[in-house]
């Protein structure tokens, strides 16, 4: 607990008032200290490893983060409403195996069929989460933990625990194709990012997400259908799990029933590193983007440097804590 708990922002605003642009800039930096942390990590990595800054490698990083990125964006919606979605890894695996079953071998269906099946699977399971959480007030942690287990079981049941490979080339394009020099998964991730950013920033639904997370009672009294908003964020998360399922199957060329175990931790980590509060109502999707990138750059950079895996874990954990520490201390010192 910082000592200034009771002091409002007055101190922050007054000295800044004189200087328009520099104030905006410093505001920006304060809200996005995590960007600085990110740039700093990048700078260090590019000094140590000559390969880091190559276009090729940067594209690699983007491609590598795209799946966690898509999941983390769905997670951002959920966490903004004070919720949590632990089932993302399982939902992704389930969607990927359902989609793959329509895209494998010689009887592969028309490309839109597996795509739709994957998205619908994710959406449906996410909607079940949303329905039970919104309707029966089951704590999101418990509901989505239950779903983590149930969806995983269903994934195994669906294809008897066997992976599905030999996927249709058109389908694999989702994960391996390149359009205008950009890998398709990266384009998908950026597309999802832009739509979500726009939604949270400019649409009424976006306002409602923040309101429900910031003060559900106030949202309710203002005539917002809190249940519907709650339901919708889990459905969105589910839908994005579906998309991630398509992406992972297409990228690795196979749908594995055991894929995505523990992915929820990375997705939540990205959101929280990005400054979104688990207490709801506060945070931004841009933060999540940089949270995702920090995790991705660390994984990539430490691999590039060939740091031994034991030390990698120590270093990665330490840097994440440090980055957030710097970010938060900027906030409280100013």
């Amino acid at each position: 607990m910082s000592q200034q708990v009771l002091a409002k922002d007055k101190g922050v605003e007054e000295p800044a008032k004189n200087s328009g642009i520099s104030k905006r800039l410093s505001d920006f930096m304060v809200s996005y200290g995590i960007i600085i942390a990110f740039l700093f990590i990048c700078a260090v990595l590019s000094v140590i490893s000559p390969y880091f800054l190559s276009t090729n490698n940067l594209l690699n990083v983007l491609r590598q983060v795209s799946i966690n990125g898509v999941l983390a964006i769905g997670m951002t919606f959920v966490i903004l409403t004070r919720g949590i979605d632990l089932s993302v890894g399982s939902l992704m695996a389930c969607s990927s195996i359902v989609a793959a079953s329509f895209a494998a071998g010689s009887e592969a269906s028309f490309i839109l069929v597996p795509i739709m099946m994957g998205l619908v699977t994710g959406l449906t399971l996410g909607a079940v989460n949303g329905l039970l959480i919104a309707r029966f007030a089951i704590p999101p942690f418990v509901m989505t933990l239950g779903m983590l287990s149930m969806a995983r079981g269903l994934t195994y049941i669906y294809n008897d625990g066997m992976p599905i490979s030999n996927l249709d080339a058109t389908f694999r394009f989702i994960g391996q194709g390149v359009v205008l020099g950009m890998p398709v998964p990266v384009l998908l991730f950026l597309g999802v990012f832009l739509i979500s950013w726009f939604t949270l920033r400019y649409t009424t639904f976006g306002r409602y997400v923040y309101a429900v997370g910031g003060n559900p009672q106030a949202a309710m009294v203002s005539g917002i259908n809190v249940r519907r908003v709650t339901f919708t964020v889990y459905a969105i998360s589910g839908l994005l799990c579906g998309l991630a399922g398509l992406m992972i199957a297409a990228r690795t060329g196979a749908a594995l029933p055991q894929a995505g175990v523990a992915y929820e931790l990375d997705a939540i980590a990205a959101v929280v590193i990005g400054g979104t509060s688990l207490a709801g109502g506060r945070g931004r999707i841009v933060g999540t983007l940089f949270g995702v990138l920090i995790i991705g750059v660390l994984n990539n950079g430490l691999d590039l440097l060939g740091v031994s895996s034991f030390y990698q874990q120590v270093v990665k954990g330490g840097i994440i804590v440090l980055a957030v520490m710097l970010d938060r201390s900027r906030l409280s010192s100013s």
Binding site: L6, E13, P15, Y202, T204, N215, A219, G223, I224
Partner: protein, 494 residues
């Protein structure tokens, strides 16, 4: 007449876990009128109003709007019928801007789903401007003081253009100046033909603006009529169900010994160069307009924040608290202004709240004696007439005024010598106020001292031996004796 009514609620009943909160709620609202809903703390006012707004479901009774029976399942329905409400528990969404809060749920839109920010900010500016509220619509609500948040909520309710506006204690957190702004707005609404249901424990206000009254006691309807037909004493006595003796009972006598001395206290951006002293047996009032820095000063004195400059002494000994614990050890107690934000554990029992700042007193070797703790809690509940089903009741289920009493009880339990009260009568009823005043006198009679801030001028005048006036974070003057009057307060503070 009944056909002309904007709203008619009869025989509304409501109980919580089998405990009745409302046994016979009645309210008849005429269009173009201001209707005072009166009653002591826990009388069931908020419960009734929440039912009218669709926040709570009712157990029984009927609600008619312009003669039509209505059943609201959520506030959305009520809003659809042209009802809006300023609820007693402020409901801000701290991370959204002022404008977003004002227009929450009815944002100006482009293309059906995109928020038209330009229009929203413009409209918010208009709404605030019309009410003469000087708050930027683009700042986050969370950065405002409680008073400012209250003003935003007022702006929000008014801007909804409702036919029926419910105001549950809209003035409990704001000063006289802001109250005037509110009254102007309320009159405009009334002239437009809207009906306003107004709840306040400040009797002066009711007589100034209300046309009709309804009195409730213990969840039952007691009477209704025209404000013009009754006087202050009748209203108070009917609310309480018994006669009230004098309102301000003041019998403390300030002594000579200085128990607290502050010199040149400064915190940049909050207040500057504040010096004052408190004598034993004295009640020291601090007056100022909203945002003048009174609360910040008290926070600093209590060790919550560190001063950037200045010194303080308690009983002649240097006092440099590193935190509230030090202040408490030096004999201070501090009833903060924001009871929900930093006063209460709303999810815990009355018992836990009361013992929270003084657990050690009911413990031995780190072990809490539940028996002692319960005894202490029961004693406080009795002394302050805290209305509750038992000491195990969760504080969030209590009425606002009773919550305030719990905060006071918590601090008294620490057995302080210097009691700092920031807006101590916020939301408590006339009976309880009188008890509070009695208590303050009683307390300071025993060689202890009280520092009190209040935005209610009569209260400040009635209770203080001496008043320090703050203006924009600076000491504007000190008043006592015959200088202590309304005009001087107004002059110094603005």
């Amino acid at each position: 007449m009944s056909n002309n009514l904007l709203l008619e609620a009869s025989n509304i009943t409501k109980s919580f876990s089998g405990v009745p909160a409302l046994e016979n709620g009645v309210l008849r609202l005429r269009p173009g009128s201001i209707h005072a809903l009166c009653g002591g703390n826990g009388a069931g006012k908020s419960t009734l109003l929440n039912i009218l707004m669709g926040v709570l479901p009712r157990d029984g009774g009927s609600i008619k709007i312009e003669g039509r029976d209505v059943h609201f399942s959520s506030p959305k329905d009520a809003l659809g019928f042209g009802i809006s409400m300023i609820s007693q528990e402020l409901e801000p969404v701290p991370e959204l801007t002022v404008a977003e809060n004002i227009f929450l749920g009815r944002e100006p839109k482009k293309a059906g789903f995109i928020v038209d920010y330009r229009r929203m900010f413009d409209q918010a500016r208009d709404v605030l401007g019309e009410l003469n509220i000087q708050i930027e619509p683009t700042v986050k609500l969370g950065s405002l003081s409680i008073a400012e948040i209250q003003m935003v909520e007022i702006a929000k309710a008014i801007s909804q253009n409702a036919r029926i506006i419910i105001m549950d204690e809209p003035t409990s957190a704001i000063g006289e100046r802001e109250t005037e702004l509110l009254f102007e707005a309320v009159h405009k609404l009334k002239d437009r033909g809207a009906g306003i249901i107004y709840v306040s424990h400040r009797m002066n206000e009711l007589f100034r603006i209300a046309d009709d009254y309804t009195i409730m006691r213990d969840g039952t309807f007691v009477g209704t009529g025209s404000m013009g037909d009754i006087d202050r004493k009748y209203l108070i006595d009917t609310i309480l169900g018994k006669e009230l003796q004098e309102e301000f009972s003041k019998f403390n006598v300030p002594g000579e010994r200085e128990i607290l001395r502050v010199e040149h206290y400064t915190r940049h951006g909050e207040f500057k160069d504040i010096s004052l002293s408190l004598k034993e047996g004295e009640i020291l009032g601090i007056f100022g307009l909203m945002g003048s820095g009174r609360s910040e000063f008290l926070n600093t004195l209590f060790g919550i924040n560190a001063p950037h400059d200045g010194e303080a002494w308690i009983d002649g000994a240097k006092f440099t608290p590193r935190g509230p614990r030090d202040a408490m050890d030096a004999g201070m107690a501090y009833v903060t202004e924001d009871r929900k934000g930093n006063g209460l554990l709303v999810g815990s029992s009355i018992r836990n709240n009361i013992s929270m700042a003084s657990v050690k007193k009911v413990s031995k070797l780190g072990l809490v004696s539940s028996r002692k703790e319960a005894k202490v809690a029961r004693l406080q509940v009795e002394n302050h007439q805290i209305k509750s089903s038992s000491i195990e009741m969760e504080v969030r289920h209590m009425s606002g005024g009773n919550q305030q009493k719990v905060v006071l009880a918590k601090w008294l339990q620490t057995d302080p010598n210097i009691l700092m009260l920031d807006e101590p009568t916020r939301g408590i009823d006339v009976g309880a106020k009188r008890e509070m005043y009695r208590f303050m006198s009683e307390f300071s009679r025993n060689g202890k001292g009280v520092i009190m801030t209040s935005s209610e001028i009569p209260e400040i005048l009635g209770m203080s031996d001496r008043v320090i006036v703050f203006r924009k974070g600076r000491l504007a003057g000190e008043l006592s004796g015959s200088d202590l009057n309304q005009d001087n307060l107004a002059r110094l503070s603005s």
